[in-house]
Symmetry: C2
Subunit: 395 residues, 2 copies
């Protein structure tokens, strides 16, 4: 286990965040890309209405633009670099990044030393802040498109935590039929975010509802409930603050409520699962309970399921390390309980998920390894991982 | 009716938006307030986690701060003015506004001519953009606090519109008991936003779920469903774009789908109400249907209910003008159908709601006028209006 933590820590040498975002100060400044640029830029799919910028071209370069007539330097801060933008005669600054991976990226602008969100983009929580995100087109983005299929809903719910003695905030996805088939009971997946993120991640940039709705409509996933909560288990939960849809957010480090026997496990077992099983039509047994997560949420899934080997029958770890045959042999009941053990990572990561799955199969575990081609420790890997994982479970 | 529209247009001389927000370019620049400032500033309740700024003091002055070491001018853009901020030796700029009304305000920062969100705040949709908002403490903010009472949920739903031939996005509030009392059917309130806003307004800065949960827990409101949709009824709905929680937003003008017999009325009558009555446990008749809205949403409520006098029994117009005895006499069936007609505005507006209510009472309408003391054409007026209105209906 130490080895896996160390390997994740090593991954995190550039940044400890689940996905590395534009974080400004300290990033190297490089020139805006000007050579071999294909001039077919289009507005990003997730721009604010009426905004042409940011744009993306067919090479997956990101181009930002902002009016700042009195500024002396403006930069596009993405993927660990600040690209210097250049000013035209109208005081409008434009800059272009190197090609980005397919999928979602956090970024920001830097104006005369101030790191700020781009007023052209929508805002997301990640890298420990609400800020800009950009969707770089991908070949498989259709998997989370909003389509005219029976729609589930993503519900925002507050609940009381006996562990933290405060209100907490989560999202709960219900499949379409939950509302019309009012006697049926459903399985539940508990789905966790990564470091520097919170419950907004899977609900927003993760497109959990759309991935599920589309798969259920195709008959590829069975309808079930997904509970998206927050790893932050500190007593002074910001969730209790008086605001609506957006939570302040606030989980930035390995401290506080991290899962290895920590406070979050208590919140999950004592508060979240009982709240869900009391309030909603769920099947409250091991064979209808799954846990999965990305990055730190995958590590937490690992630790919580190993520490509670008879609680979850389905386990998913997305860029969250691996589980070994020895781990399972040390966790009494895990082998008998587990129905699916899924481990994934990006093709640009090296987490040994395929080998780990092979080793687990040898001891009779229904293990699956999955590698997201061409992506790194980032949301596109995790959306694809969710898409794969939910097709395997509760069947 | 023309008179009311003209009076709303007059109100909107400074800005056509439901609530005026920091909109940068063109606003007058004034010095930061430095005299008679009480130095008891505290972080705003809706700051991003870990952010001390923006702050508010007991005089309801807003103080913003940002690090911009290379900038030559930075301003706090709030309530139609840009307050010049001043730089310290570390390159950190600070500025203080004049006192603001109690409640919620849009604002932004201006850095060397660039208008950008403040990285310290949460982001809201209004004034036709996602951007910063600040909560100025109010004596009655307890009405929307997240409390340990039975919690309803705010559900994000996509649905197909036959009118626009596109997917649309709305929020639906369900009271707590909707999930546990699985045979009961509920009344429905259709609740609309104002100009430059969208369905996020009532779900987020409007705190609809918290206002309802708290009132239901106190026995002051009967449990019912609230559908929060968007007045934008253009065919190319941004709602269909592939992103989750945040919509791009995009309703900025009187054109497009505005309600006076326009496209939105069609969407409401042909798509939204049938979708709700088909998918959820609602009582699908006039006596269990209400419509209300703020500003342009109030005007739309006026026009839709007068054009469909036998469809809604309860009507609320918050800063949305008034209905006269003559209007009602011209709308056959309105008088016999209506159970409550509620008209409100801020104390700093003059919309004649009290006189209008008196006139309606004379013809036998159960009319109520309400004035929100000390507030203007802004969210605090509308939160208070919702708080009053929902206690009157479905009883």
């Amino acid at each position: 286990m130490k080895k896996i933590i160390l390997s994740l820590m090593a991954l995190a040498t550039v940044s400890a965040y689940a996905q590395f975002g534009g974080r400004g100060q300290g990033n190297p400044t490089v020139p805006s890309v000007t050579e071999n640029v294909t001039e077919d830029f289009k507005p990003a799919a997730n721009n604010q209405a009426g905004h042409q910028y940011p744009m993306v071209n067919s090479q997956r370069m990101v181009r930002a633009q902002i009016s700042a007539p009195n500024a002396t330097s403006v930069g596009l801060d993405i993927d660990g670099k600040i690209y210097s933008m250049t000013k035209n005669e109208n005081g409008v600054w434009t800059g272009t990044s190197a090609p980005q991976d397919e999928g979602f990226h956090y970024y920001q602008l830097n104006i005369d030393g101030a790191s700020v969100p781009d007023p052209g983009s929508l805002y997301y929580y990640g890298a420990s802040r609400w800020g800009s995100g950009i969707e770089v087109p991908s070949g498989d983005q259709d998997i989370w498109a909003v389509k005219n299929v029976p729609q589930g809903s993503m519900n925002e719910v507050y609940y009381w935590s006996s562990v933290t003695q405060a209100m907490r905030h989560c999202y709960i996805y219900f499949p379409n039929e939950y509302y019309t088939n009012t006697t049926k009971k459903y399985p539940v997946l508990y789905l966790m975010h990564g470091m520097g993120e919170n419950e907004h991640g899977w609900a927003e940039q993760g497109h959990t509802a759309q991935i599920m709705d589309n798969l259920i409509a195709q008959g590829k996933a069975t309808p079930f409930i997904i509970v998206i909560d927050c790893l932050d288990a500190r007593a002074a939960q910001p969730a209790a603050a008086p605001q609506g849809g957006q939570r302040q957010g606030g989980f930035g480090g390995f401290g506080g409520g991290f899962g290895m026997g920590g406070a979050f496990q208590d919140v999950l077992i004592k508060d979240i699962i009982p709240m869900v099983e009391k309030n909603y039509r769920v099947i409250p047994d091991t064979q209808h309970r799954a846990m999965a997560g990305l990055s730190m949420g995958g590590m937490t899934t690992r630790s919580v399921t190993l520490a509670n080997p008879k609680t979850f029958a389905y386990v998913g770890m997305f860029s969250g390390g691996t589980i070994s045959a020895q781990d399972i042999q040390n966790a009494e009941g895990y082998k008998e309980t587990n129905k699916v053990l899924f481990m994934s990572c990006g093709g640009k990561e090296n987490m040994g998920v395929m080998e780990a799955a092979e080793n687990l199969k040898k001891i009779g575990i229904n293990a699956t390894g999955y590698i997201s081609e061409g992506t790194a420790h980032e949301w596109h890997t995790w959306r694809r991982s969710l898409y794969q994982f939910v097709q395997l479970i509760f069947k």
